[in-house]
Subunit: 161 residues, 4 copies
């Protein structure tokens, strides 16, 4: 079963710039992460953008939607910043039918020691293989329907509406 | 949805003894791993044993089976060494009905830098939430029915029979 | 041989705030780092401040100088942000005689995977034990007299003047 | 100031073989470690052997001695397993004069999360730059003359005789 992975950036893929002391994007770590997980799924990775999800625009969300619709794959994982993951999930939830789409992200960059990225990626790929058509958010080990997920910005976790 | 986690040891939980230079078991890292994954599932962790799966005996497998049957939970994740995971899966597959049981493990200890543990734990917890009754092996991002999984000892990956 | 360690913050001790996505200071990692290094030196750790060295003021530098002068120890290591390490070194170089003072820092926080912190701390503690009286900067495996060190902000390394 | 680094293996460079579950040697991590430390010293790395120091033979020690004598460099760091570091140090201590030779090692492999390797390498390179002629063991943040170092096998630390 092939899975399409769309990369949009987010904390997942942020890195530390040791010259400026700021976080930035270089290239996606998804291939490294799949290697570390000894993942043997057939996946196709496509980088749509590399941005902080606070910078995600309507045009960006339309692009993600269009690629979800146009890819021949029916099982899709999207890496996305957590700050506006619910907004993107809503656009996809209203615009896609007949496909299983799972958005996931991370609270801490993959390259930092304490990242939740590997765990989240594992859950997202598993949910994408087993859930029926629909758009979902996979965070904190759980899976939320797109219209039921909300990020609690104080606690930094996703909760069910 | 509550999930029962049974810990049996395996590479997952091995540590490096810097005095002897050998790998050994101290205590399970499952709570640490769930914390690192920012996991918000309701889980109940019970350590059944802490052994290399090459040391797993028939009596050990019966204990795991009995605990799977006696726990009130119907969704169960079992951490287990990969070397004899298929044998334990077979005992559980023949003895359990009406519950979703997912065995997982790791090729590299959690405490080493290059572990697949977090990824595998993520997939196992997701599969345990979404799959119907049955006994499964979750490794390499994939999920195998208990009577279809085989460890390829040369490549160190699980394949479908 | 006892060594006094003064902590002033710097990248060394920065952490990632997963709620805000920003770097911040919580508490020093020096005890953890010494434990990780299996360090058996007699050291006395005192936190003077926990700041980014761009925030270091004249008053802050005077405090560091005063504590270097007043501590009974004659061998001192100071952890400090790299951005203004040379300025603090100059204040100490002009104000201290008869003691060996070594400033060190890191380009990447200790808690991130790719930190140079452990290496730099190792060099600083070794230089502090073996060098004669003077004020030094220990970075990039090298040791510079206080009036000979300059941070190359483009390359992110220290060079000799 | 150029430094010669001789690699002989030891826990420093051990890796985990995920197929066999055993530790083994592949290639030295010294270049990676120097890169991680943002080290800007001029060093020349030469791998003399890649063995557990329990396997070190008289012939092996003679080879190390000969290379220390024949290299044009007068400042030398040797990575070595800790179990027989004192024996090799003794052979070098009796056979070398006019050069500064520092042996160091690690209690935990560099590739594992909890390694003391970066710290020890930092101290060894600093001691090699600052100490006068002699043969030394750099472990636990300290530096021992070759005929004063003893590994306490119960505690896993080096002590002064």
């Amino acid at each position: 079963m092939d899975i399409q992975i769309f990369v949009t950036g987010g904390t997942f893929d942020k890195e530390y710039n040791e010259i400026s002391g700021e976080l930035f994007f270089k290239q996606t770590h998804l291939p490294d992460m799949l290697r570390l997980g000894r993942c043997r799924l057939e996946v196709e990775i496509e980088v749509l953008m590399m941005i902080d999800s606070l910078q995600m625009t309507d045009a960006g969300r339309r692009l993600i939607l269009e690629r979800c619709l146009s890819t021949p794959h029916t099982r899709i994982v999207i890496t996305h910043g957590t700050d506006t993951m619910e907004e993107t999930a809503a656009v996809l939830g209203r615009g896609i039918s007949g496909k299983t789409v799972v958005l996931t992200g991370a609270m801490v960059p993959y390259t930092f020691g304490s990242s939740d990225g590997m765990f989240n990626l594992g859950t997202a790929l598993a949910f994408a293989q087993t859930l029926g058509p629909g758009v979902y958010v996979a965070m904190n080990g759980r899976c939320f329907a797109w219209n039921r997920a909300r990020k609690n910005r104080v606690l930094g976790i996703f909760e069910e509406l």
